[in-house]
């Protein structure tokens, strides 16, 4: 018996603990607000489901590569008359090709482009990307889109943005609590990032400094003709001041790729277009030993040192990079151009007032529902009904506690689920009480009738609830944001109501009847006759 009370007490305490636990950084022992996370539909914000058109990414890639391979081959001394991209068929046709003495275009392509299938046909040489390369290009397109959004999201001033890629798909889910500026979000999603190359000033930097340290030599002011940019290439709050003049932009870059330096260390490879190469050649000539910063959307993603005068349109950025860092940087630089079309499949913009009103309405509806059910139970089952009402209140506390402990969000349909639970939770008690009444009618003593009532009704309660649980589980798998909240609420409600209506209310009965003064319990309706006493 004592054991039962301890379990009930522990359940209540655990729920209250989770509900009133102070959040990180909050003062005091008890939190002022309930620890329940609201879904976007209640707190307001933007939800977007995006689809990156990965087929489009391949098409763009094929078009890019037609030019890029031609340039590279010609730099190596081969002649490619025509490079014709066929984006729909995923292939490039090279016509009118010729090679230096003793070499062959076919062999050179085979050697240099191991990710491509090279075929000699009647029309010319046809190259098409291997499936591995296709997958890489598609993955890159998705990652670039994610990166671009992440990088620019602070334009919106959103405190806790969430950008997740749906598992194994080309979908991106964007959740911005507290935002409602759909116009800006569209811009962020649909427009390329702004990529610039600017010289560092003072020209050569030895160590990364914070903004204050950086400006200290200049009396805390930004020197004329320069601007301070935050540096995100290393951790910490460092910054560089850069010259205002923009040297190159994304439009000058033909290709960015994984590469290696002479020692086989990972490096970022870049191919510039003609005009980019001319500018770059003259800038590197005058700035050997200086640093050149790559700025994406107003943030420095890399500031390598210029080692030599670069005349080749193809060059590499070296540093102590790991494979992973190179991969990241390629994605970042590429996000300065649009790798693929992005489609907005679904967008929901919810203002903060809608949720506020819904919470108020839901609260009132829950309160009213609770009162109506409680009054009915008290009239219909009297003392037994009173126990079921206590169990119901307990149930609601436990549901809130479980919701908080699981960290799942409360959504608008979730509120409906909560209110619905108020009506359905007493079902288990009703089953038990009706059973007890029946047992009493057969002439059993009160104690034994209560015992039999709980025991026999138990199986029925389980069977009936498991079926509802299965339905709720299917709803959860269906996976639509706010509706998931309803499913979770229903499932929590089922588990909790079995506990409170069976275990807790039985404890109340046992405690009451355990006292030898109480020989009977009122379970019959207040009005009308009482068949048995």
């Amino acid at each position: 018996m004592r054991f039962r009370w301890i379990i009930i007490l522990l359940a209540i305490l655990a729920s209250l603990f989770h509900l009133f636990k102070t959040a990180d950084g909050e003062d005091g022992f008890l939190s002022k607000e309930l620890n329940i996370r609201y879904g976007l539909d209640l707190q307001g914000g933007i939800f977007m489901q995006l689809e990156v058109d990965t087929e489009d990414a391949i098409r763009q890639y094929i078009e890019e590569q037609a030019g890029s391979i031609k340039v590279n081959m010609e730099t190596a001394g081969y002649t490619i008359g025509i490079a014709e991209p066929y984006p729909e068929e995923k292939k490039i046709l090279f016509k009118d090709t010729s090679a230096p003495e003793g070499e062959s275009v076919y062999d050179k392509l085979k050697d240099d482009y191991s990710n491509w299938i090279v075929d000699q046909t009647d029309e010319g040489i046809v190259v098409s990307p291997r499936s591995r390369l296709v997958t890489n290009v598609q993955e890159d397109a998705i990652n670039q889109t994610v990166y671009k959004i992440q990088n620019r999201i602070d334009e919106l001033g959103v405190t806790e943005p969430s950008i997740t890629r749906a598992l194994n798909s080309n979908r991106i889910i964007l959740e911005l609590a507290g935002a409602d500026d759909v116009e800006r979000v569209h811009n962020i999603v649909k427009e390329p990032g702004k990529l610039e190359w600017r010289l560092v000033h003072p020209p050569s930097v030895t160590a990364a400094l914070t903004e204050v340290e950086l400006l200290a030599p200049f009396g805390g002011n930004v020197p004329a003709g320069t601007r301070v940019f935050p540096n995100i290439s290393q951790g910490g709050q460092t910054a560089y001041s850069l010259l205002e003049e923009v040297i190159l932009t994304a439009s000058n870059i033909r290709d960015v790729y994984h590469s290696r330096d002479n020692n086989g260390m990972p490096a970022v490879g870049i191919t510039l277009d003609r005009s980019g190469n001319l500018i770059f050649s003259s800038v590197t000539k005058d700035n050997i030993g200086n640093n050149l910063a790559v700025v994406l959307d107003g943030k420095i993603i890399s500031a390598p040192n210029i080692m030599t005068h670069l005349t080749d349109p193809r060059f590499i950025i070296t540093g102590q990079f790991s494979e992973r860092e190179v991969g990241d940087m390629v994605v970042k630089i590429k996000s300065g151009s649009l790798p693929a079309e992005v489609r907005i499949l679904e967008e929901r913009v919810i203002g903060p007032t809608l949720g506020r009103d819904a919470i108020q309405q839901g609260g009132r509806a829950a309160g009213l529902g609770l009162i109506l059910v409680a009054v009915f139970m008290l009239i219909w089952y009297r003392r037994a009904g009173f126990y079921s009402v206590i169990a119901l209140v307990l149930n609601l506390i436990l549901i809130a506690g479980m919701l908080s402990a699981l960290g799942s969000v409360l959504t608008l349909p979730g509120i409906a689920g909560f209110i619905l639970t108020i009506g359905m939770a007493v079902d288990a008690n009703v089953l038990v009480f009706e059973r007890i009444k029946e047992e009493l009618k057969t002439g059993l003593s009160v104690v034994r009738a209560v015992d039999a009532g709980f025991k026999t009704a138990y199986v029925t309660i389980l069977d009936a609830n498991i079926t509802t649980f299965i339905a709720a589980f299917c709803l959860l798998l269906m996976g639509q944001g706010p509706i998931k909240g309803f499913a979770v609420m229903l499932m929590i409600g089922i588990i909790s109501s079995i506990f409170t209506a069976v275990f807790c209310s039985r404890t109340f009965f046992l405690a009451y009847l355990g006292d030898s003064k109480h020989k009977t319990i009122t379970i019959w309706p207040m009005f009308g006759s009482t068949p048995v006493e």
Binding site: D53, L156, G157, V158, D180, E183, R184, H186, K194, E196, E244, E245, I344, L345, E346, E347, V349, I350, G351, L354, R356, D357, A358, Q360, Q361, A365, L368, G369, L372, F376, L412, I415, A416, L420, G423, M424, V426, D427, V430, E438, K441, T456, D463, A464, N465, I466, T467, T468, I470, A471, F473, C474, L475, L477, M478, G479, Q480, I483, F486, L490
Partner: protein, 470 residues
């Protein structure tokens, strides 16, 4: 002991059920079931006006010019609790399945939003406010706001960018006279990039009644009216502005009303804050409370998933019941279940309510609920078969239904009452959800008494006796 002969009258109720099911199917096939925007594709938007006299007819007229499929609903009659909460006027605009080129849904939805915003703004002449604000401001101030917004996406030297926007601002000032709308103004300022200029002006001078806390904070940080340290934020001010707005029915009508109640830190000049608000914001008279858009492809996918969920639920439950009971019980309960879902769907079609995600959730709840009742009865039938020697199944069933009758009625009553409270009290989304539940509860209770057991009896007599099963 109460003993009503339910099983004996199964013929009558069988006919009633069959008529109901056939009528429902006929309704579903002829009238069809309406789909809401999440299953049909399209836009659903809720708007609230400060002015309670805004007329639904006026909006309807203007909105129908944007898209002939658009429908406008007045939210006033939505909830019995609403009267206490909502002041002003609130409307829902739905545009289902608009004609949009595939792949251009995002552009189309933004375009639609702009047009709707223009309609809402025209109700109380918000457009003029922005024109007046631009007339009041100096070209320098307009240039500064535009530059921080950078609508033309200019890059290059800072001075170049600044000069470009100064020139733009000068042109704006020069063309203000005679421009009635921002669109007209933008057209005169820069024909080629008029949409960008128009967007830029609207974004640079937003309505104080539409900004979010985070955005207000970001904007205050950018213009730093109180001269705070570069890294300091303005969350305190943004919070005060928003709570003032909330306390005054979600609309600030005059900056003068709000400013005295804003507390600034010691040594800061509150007057500067007043200048800041006057220079950067308009007092919009409407507020879009929600705006949801679904592309046709995602809508079709959602509808598919919804059917899948219902199908999986039915299969899962069938397996569970055939494991716990026998096949006969499982088939009987699924027949009862389909009966309930079809009739609920029929009722849905009859009143022309709309199928949406919350409604599917409600249907799945009906699935669970309908079984709940049926299983309680079946459990008792099984128990009574076990305990009794004589094998008159019909009598045993009747006894079981009678024994569980008061439980069935009490539970249905309590559940019905709370769902009724949701139906009457909560907002539009939840009402859509509560309506099929109300029908489901009534039909589910009926079917657990009048449908499930007769079907089980039929199965036992004609196909395989359940008396002999374990």
């Amino acid at each position: 002991m109460r003993n009503i002969d339910f099983i004996g009258k199964r013929g009558i109720f069988g006919v009633v059920s069959i008529i109901l099911v056939i009528t429902s199917i006929a309704l579903i096939l002829t009238k069809g079931v309406n789909k809401n925007v999440d299953f049909a594709g399209g836009t659903q938007l809720m708007v609230k006006f400060a002015d309670p006299t805004v007329d639904v007819g006026a909006i309807r007229g203007l909105v129908s010019q944007i898209d002939s499929k658009a429908s406008v609903y007045d939210n006033k009659k939505a909830s019995v609790f609403d009267a206490a909460i909502t002041s002003g006027a609130s409307f829902t605009v739905k545009i289902k399945n608009p004609d949009v080129e595939k792949g251009k849904e995002a552009e189309a939805s933004l375009d639609r939003l702009h047009k709707l915003e223009f309609v809402f703004a025209s109700m109380n002449n918000d457009e003029k406010q922005l024109i007046d604000l631009l007339s009041d401001l100096s070209a320098e101030k307009i240039a500064a706001s535009l530059e921080s917004e950078n609508p033309l996406g200019l890059s290059g030297l800072d001075t170049e960018v600044a000069n470009a926007y100064k020139t733009l601002a000068d042109t704006v000032k020069a063309n203000l006279a005679g421009s009635e709308t921002i669109a007209q103004l933008a057209e005169k300022v820069d024909v080629e990039r008029s949409t960008k200029v128009e967007q830029g002006l609207r974004l640079a001078f937003p309505s104080i009644n539409r900004v979010t806390k985070d955005f207000l904070n970001a904007m205050l940080k950018k213009f730093n009216p109180l001269g705070r340290a570069r890294s300091a934020d303005y969350v305190d001010i943004a919070k005060q502005v928003l709570s003032f707005r909330e306390e005054h029915g979600d609309f600030i009508l005059k900056f003068e009303d709000m400013l005295p109640s804003i507390v600034v830190a010691e040594g800061e000049d509150a007057a500067q804050l007043g200048v800041f608000f006057h220079d950067h914001f308009t007092l919009g008279t409407y507020n879009i409370t929600s705006n949801e858009t679904f592309s046709p492809s995602i809508a079709a996918e959602m509808l598919n998933k919804a059917w899948e969920a219902i199908l999986f639920a039915i299969i899962g439950i069938l397996i569970y019941i055939s494991m716990r009971f026998t096949m006969g019980y499982a088939v009987a309960s699924v027949v009862a279940l389909m009966h309930d879902v079809i009739i609920a769907l029929g009722a849905f079609s009859l009143v022309q309510a709309e199928l949406s995600n919350p409604v599917v959730a409600a249907f799945l709840t009906i699935v669970g609920y309908s079984l709940n009742d049926t299983i309680v009865v079946f459990d008792r039938i099984r128990e009574n078969i076990k305990n009794s020697r004589k094998g008159d199944l019909a009598a045993l069933m009747n006894q079981s239904i009678n024994q569980t009758l008061s439980r069935t009625l009490v539970t249905s009553l309590t559940t019905f009452v709370v769902v009724m409270v949701i139906f009457l009290g909560a907002n539009a989304t939840l009402r859509d959800f509560a309506f099929p539940l109300l029908i489901g509860i009534i039909v589910g209770t009926y079917s657990s008494i009048f449908v499930a057991s007769p079907v089980l009896l039929f199965w036992s007599n004609k196909i395989r006796s359940i008396n002999n099963d374990k």
